[in-house]
Amino acid sequence: MFEIGGKLLKSRLFVGTGKLPDYSLIEKMYYEAGVEVFAVAVRRIGPNTKHTKNVLEYIPNDAIIMVNTSGAQDHKEAVKIAMIGRELTNSNWVKVEIEKDTKYLFPDSIETLKACEILVKEGFKVFPYIYPDLNLAKELEQIGVEAVMPLGSPIGTNKGIGCEVLLKPIINEIKIPVIIDAGIGRPSHAAKAMEMGADAVLINTAIATSSDPLKMAVAFAKAVEAGRVAFEVGILKEYEYAQASSPLEDFISG
C-alpha cells in the first residue's frame, strides 16, 4: 500500500482512458489488472447520447478518477476545465496538462505552474504533467501539489525512459511522489521507471492501442509490481566488467 493524494492505493499503475477502443475495458482493468486510478480528459466527458454512455458510467465506484485538463491553452482554461471536471466527477484529483504545442505535446511549464497555484488554493489534489525539470518540480512541491508527473519521453512515442538522467535527480530530491507519465511503451519501460524509484507510472497509448488492451494492462501491472519490489529490495550496482579474476591476476599481485 502507498499513500497518495490522501488515498491508500495498492496499485502503482495509473491508466489514461483517452485512447481506449471501448470504455467497458475500464472496469475489466480495475478487476483484472488491479488498476485503481483512471485519468479522464474532461473534454471527453460528454453527456449520455443515444449511442454512447458517458465515460464516467464505466468507472467503478471505488476507483479514483483523475480529471485531465488536456485541450487547455493556458492556465485560465485549465482552471475552468478542472472546475467543470470536479463538478462532473465529484473527484478533486486533477492532472494539470497544458501543452505548449500540438506537435510534441510538450507541457507549458509557466502556465502549468500558474494553474497549479490556483488549483491548490481551490482545494484540488493537483498532479501536474511536466518536463523532467528539477527546479520546476521543487517549486511545485513548495506550492503544495500532491505529486509531480514528469514525462519519460514525448507523449505517444513509446520510447520509454528517454529522460533518465533528468528524471533521477527529481526522484532523488523531491519528497512528494513522482509519477512517470508519457512515453512508456512497454512493460519493461514501466519496470525500469519503478526500479529507478518512481512512485507510480501513468500509461495510456501503450495499453489502449495494443491489440489486447486488457492483457497489456495486466502485463504492465506485473511489470510495475516487479520493478517496485526490486527497488525496495535494492537494485545491485551495474559493472562494465565482470569482477571475476583476471588471467593476469597472479602476475599483477605477484
Binding site: 485512447k19 481506449l20 471501448d22 491553452q73 476545465i81 505548449k100
Partner: protein
C-alpha cells in the same frame, strides 16, 4: 503571395518529373519526421506496393497519436443566401434557387433534433451574404448552438479579426474554411465576382480566427478545381504553417473531392480513389498529429476503409439542405452538393465499433469559453 505557397511552387517545379525508387520510399518512411523534399517525392509515388507501405506507416502514426477513437460531427446549414458567383457551386447566386434562412427558433429545432440523434459537435454553415447572413445573425445562431452542443464550429464566409473574436467570445471554438484552390489564377477564374474573389482575404482567414481565440482550424482545397497534387502540397504546407504559428491549436485538413452540385460545371481534373487515399495518408505521414476530416461526400465503403488508416473525424447523418434535420426536405434538389454516405448516425456508430474503434461525440469542454 504567402511564403508557403511560393515554397510549394518551387518544390513542385523542381521535383515535377521525380519518381522516387522503392528504396528511397523505404528510407523516407524510416524517418521520424519528413522533409519538404520527402513530401513532394511521396506525392509523386504511384507504385501500388509503395503506397501500401505508406498506408501501413500512416495507420501506425494515427493510432499512436489519436488512439482508437473517431470523432463524429454534423453540419447545420442555416442559410443559403449567397452573393458569390462560384462557377461550380449549387448555392451560387446565379442559380435560380429557393433562398432560405432559418429563424432562431428553427435553428434551435434543428439543433435539438441533431442532439436527439446523438450529435454533440456541430458546424454552422451559411453562404456568403453579409446582409442576409450577417455576423450578428451568425453570432446569435452560435450562441444557441453553444447552449445545446458541446462543440461549435463555423464554416461561413471569411470574417475580420474582431468578428472572429465576437464569435470566440460566445464560445465558438473552430473554423472550417476551404481555400477551394491555392492556385491564384485558377481561383480568380472560378470566382469571377462577389466578395469571395479576394484570394488573400480567404487564405488568411484561418489565421485571423486562430489569433482571435479559436482553438481549431480545418483547411483544404476542393480537389478537382485545379491541379490536385499541387493543391494538396499547398494545403499541407498551409497546415504546417498554421501549426508553427499557432502551436497550441489543433489543425485539421480535409480534401473534399468535387461533386456535381446541380450546375453544368465540369472540373478540369478528376481525382481517383487511389490518388485521394494517397493524398490523405501523405498528410498523416508529413504531419503525424494533424486532424484528418472526411465528409459524407465520399461513399460509405471508402469512408469505412479510411477510418482504419488516417482519418480522425467524420461527419455523420449529414443533411446539406437548410432546415434538413427537423423538416422533410428533398436532399437531391436543394442540397449544396450530393451526399454519398446517407447512413444514419446509429449506422455509422455501429461500423466504428465493429472496427474496434470508439466513437467520440465531442472534443471540447462545454462552457469553458463562455463563463
Amino acid at each position: 503571395m504567402a511564403s508557403f505557397l511560393e515554397e510549394a511552387e518551387e518544390l513542385f517545379k523542381e521535383y515535377k518529373e521525380y519518381i522516387p525508387t522503392h528504396k528511397e520510399v523505404c528510407d523516407i518512411l524510416d524517418k521520424e519526421f519528413l522533409s519538404k523534399e520527402d513530401l513532394i517525392k511521396l506525392l509523386n509515388v504511384s507504385n501500388k506496393e509503395d503506397i501500401l507501405l505508406m498506408v501501413k506507416k500512416a495507420q501506425k502514426l494515427t493510432r499512436e497519436n489519436f488512439g482508437k477513437v473517431i470523432l463524429l460531427y454534423a453540419p447545420l446549414y442555416i442559410a443559403n443566401y449567397c452573393q458569390n458567383g462560384c462557377v461550380y457551386c449549387g448555392f451560387s447566386c446565379k442559380k435560380e434557387y429557393r433562398r432560405e434562412k432559418l429563424s432562431f427558433e428553427r435553428i434551435e429545432n434543428e439543433l435539438r433534433k441533431m442532439k436527439e440523434e446523438g450529435i454533440d459537435s456541430v458546424i454552422i454553415l451559411t453562404g456568403e451574404d453579409r446582409i442576409n447572413s450577417s455576423v450578428e445573425y451568425i453570432e446569435k445562431a452560435c450562441e444557441i448552438a453553444v447552449n445545446i452542443m458541446s462543440e461549435v464550429s463555423i464554416e461561413v464566409y471569411p470574417l475580420y479579426e474582431e468578428e472572429y473574436r465576437r464569435l470566440s467570445n460566445v464560445g465558438v471554438i473552430g473554423i472550417t474554411l476551404y481555400q477551394e484552390t491555392y492556385q491564384k489564377e485558377d481561383y480568380e477564374k472560378l470566382h469571377p465576382f462577389g466578395p469571395k474573389k479576394d484570394f488573400e482575404f480567404r487564405l488568411n482567414a484561418p489565421e485571423r480566427a486562430l489569433k482571435s481565440g479559436f482553438h481549431e482550424a480545418c483547411i483544404g482545397p476542393l480537389l478537382g478545381l485545379s491541379h490536385p497534387k499541387k493543391d494538396v502540397l499547398c494545403a499541407i504546407l498551409h497546415a504546417e504553417y498554421l501549426l508553427e504559428k499557432f502551436p497550441k491549436t489543433e489543425i485539421s485538413i480535409s480534401f473534399p473531392r468535387f461533386r456535381s452540385a446541380g450546375t453544368d460545371f465540369m472540373p478540369l481534373y478528376t481525382v481517383s480513389d487511389k490518388e485521394f487515399i494517397k493524398f490523405l495518408i501523405i498528410a498523416r505521414l508529413y504531419l503525424p498529429r494533424i486532424g484528418i476530416v472526411l465528409s459524407t461526400r465520399e461513399n460509405s465503403s471508402l469512408r469505412d476503409a479510411l477510418i482504419d488508416v488516417c482519418v480522425t473525424k467524420i461527419s455523420a447523418g449529414s443533411k446539406t439542405t437548410v432546415g434538413g434535420y427537423a423538416e422533410e426536405k428533398d436532399e437531391d434538389s436543394e442540397a449544396q452538393f450530393e451526399v454519398e454516405d446517407r447512413r444514419s448516425v446509429s449506422e455509422i456508430v455501429d461500423v466504428i465499433i465493429k472496427k474496434g474503434l470508439r466513437p467520440e461525440f465531442t472534443n471540447w469542454v462545454k462552457g469553458v469559453k463562455n463563463i
